[in-house]
Amino acid sequence: MSLAVEEQPLPAPAPRRRGLDRKYVPLLVTVTLFVAMAALGSVLYTGFFSAQVFLNLLIDNAFLCIVAVGLTFVIVSGGIDLSVGAVIALTTMVSAALVERHQWSPLVVISLVLVMGTVFGATMGFLIERFRLQPFLVTLAGMFLARGLCYLISIDSISITDGFYTAVSQARIPVWADAQVSVGAVIALAMVAAGTFVAHFTQFGRTVYAIGGNEQSAMLMGLPVRSTLVGVYAFSGFCSALGGVVFTFYMLSGYGLHAVGLELDAIAAVVIGGTLLSGGVGYVFGTLFGVLMLGIIQTLIMFDGSLSSWWTRIAIGGLLFLFCLLQRLFEQRRRAA
């Protein structure tokens, strides 16, 4: 009885979109600006233009990238997750405690912390959805809780000497010549790919966008709003835990003060990548560039090496400002055209 089954011939398909779809403009702007920034660094500093420097962006920001992928979904759904940094810390702490103090097998520990992160996220999602609480509050309390739990395990840092962890930590995958990437970087790229797929080609991903566009409408359209909302936070929790695992490889230690303030970096990366904080619009792929953007700003400053502590901050702020301003200008220009 549906209208789709009808005898009339299909109309000739309209010509497929010519040129670039308008909705990809912010993404394009971000990528272009990143390339410009990289070019600037290469001109200014010797040794900047090398494969390894760019791969280091990935190696050094792998965990941030993974977390930001999960956060992209949360932000697209119109929420926010402030607990990501704390969950990373908790993951490193639990991993270190179990592996070092209780000699658990690393693989068991990794699966366990991934489940833990997912459950942690899902619980927050449940509270947000079921009791109509503000995501900011719930995840902020989640952040306090996760960090607090770290200190309950130990206030000191715990080194990891386990063979598996050190092996993974030091493993390098050659890309070309003597440029290499770490396991974490590969996982991060895989997560970006997986995130992009989930966002654009699955029911779950599309529902997240619909909720971000208008939660009430999404509900009236008969979309599974409740389970998707819980799922979004669970996914973000999972990504944080996975980020935590990668972070553990990166640091080889568990510590309650790990990844302090990482949530802000992650939010910044997501937003710079073209996602609207008000929800409904965003790209996982853009998030990757948001992360790289933050990374390259930092690298530029490190290569400069002459800034005092405070000028470092002012420079980071300035570059961020420049970038966001150009991003806005280009977007407006495109829209006006």
Binding site: G47, S50, Q52, V53, N56, I59, D60, F63, C150, Y151, I155, D156, S157, I158, S159, I160, T161, T166, S169, Q170, F247, Y250, M251, L252, S253, Y255, G256, L257, H258, A259, V260, G261, Q298, T299, I301, M302, F303, G305, S306, L307, S308, S309, W310, T312, R313
Partner: protein, 293 residues
């Protein structure tokens, strides 16, 4: 003239006067020694320090030096440095790695010992029966906070008359130190004999709180702290702080000498200890004019 030596130095951050003095000393010494310094501020984050070290490796500096924000988790990046044949010098704090070939030398202070010195002063100088001590800790989980607490406790252990009655974090800041002390004073107004603060800033904040509560800091409540920054000397001259344990930030010249030796291939000792003293109230006026930070 030979090529300038390039030193990559990764600082923890600029969280305190002490740290700023430390940075200044290193910058000045590098300039004096004609060493090109690549300075990077990690804003208290270990991951930023690791990134900085990676970027030093990519920039092919001659020597890398850094003050580890924590002891653990440096193995991977230090191995990368070793593979790139860049010698590493640790300042201020050691790292927790079994393979000590990863760095050539470690110079700097010993937080544990600082805590012990503060403890010893208390044990030696505070007489009378019950001694109730309150402690203002540094940032929870930070290495100086952990070790200064540990060192202090080590000394007073087994001396039952010394008791830590309250201990709370003041995040190494004056504002928090004052706030926490205020609450302590209201909670047990009469019972506090000694305040042990993990740094001078918290002690200075607490002194204000004690005065506002109508007590005399330095007399009614004896105060011990660590760092020996300028403000502490002013407080001591005013008779409000009893003693501060020095933890010298002026590592610059020593570090530059070590860098030059390493590059020249001269042997350097694995551990270079910096001089640390303890300044009681009485010496303050004499020492104050010579303090640089």
């Amino acid at each position: 003239q030979q090529k300038k030596i390039v030193l990559g130095f990764s600082q923890i951050g600029a969280e305190s006067e002490w740290r700023t003095a430390n940075t200044e000393s290193i910058k000045q010494a590098a300039k004096d020694a004609g060493i090109e310094l690549k300075f990077s501020d990690a804003q208290q984050k270990q991951e930023n320090q690791i990134k900085a070290i990676r970027s030093f490796i990519a920039q092919k500096v001659d020597v890398i030096a850094f003050s580890p924000v924590v002891e653990s988790g440096w193995g991977t990046v230090l191995r990368e440095a070793k593979a790139a044949k860049i010698p590493v010098i640790l300042t201020d704090r050691a790292v927790n790695e079994k393979d000590d070939s990863l760095w050539v030398t470690f110079m700097g202070s010993d937080f544990l010992e600082e805590g012990r010195k503060a403890g010893r002063w208390v044990v030696d100088n505070i007489k009378g029966g019950e001694v109730n001590i309150v402690e203002l800790q540094g940032t929870v989980g930070s290495a100086p906070a952990i070790d200064r607490k540990k060192g202090f406790e080590e000394v007073i252990k087994g001396k039952p008359q010394f008791k830590i009655v309250r201990s709370q974090t003041g995040d190494f800041t004056r504002a928090k130190g004052k706030e926490v002390m205020q609450a302590f004073l209201k909670a047990d107004p009469k019972k506090i004999n000694v305040l042990y603060a993990h740094n001078d800033d918290m002690a200075i904040g607490a002194i204000q709180a004690i005065e506002e509560a109508g007590l005399k800091p330095g007399q009614d409540i004896k105060i011990v702290s660590i760092d020996a920054v300028k403000g502490a000397f002013e407080a001591m001259m005013a008779g409000k702080l009893n003693v501060t344990v020095e933890c010298s930030p002026l590592l610059g010249p020593q570090l530059m000498k070590a860098v030059q030796d390493v590059v020249a291939g001269k042997p350097v000792p694995k551990r270079i200890v910096t001089e640390e003293t303890i300044f009681p109230m009485e010496s303050a006026a004499k020492v104050f004019p010579t303090r640089k930070y």
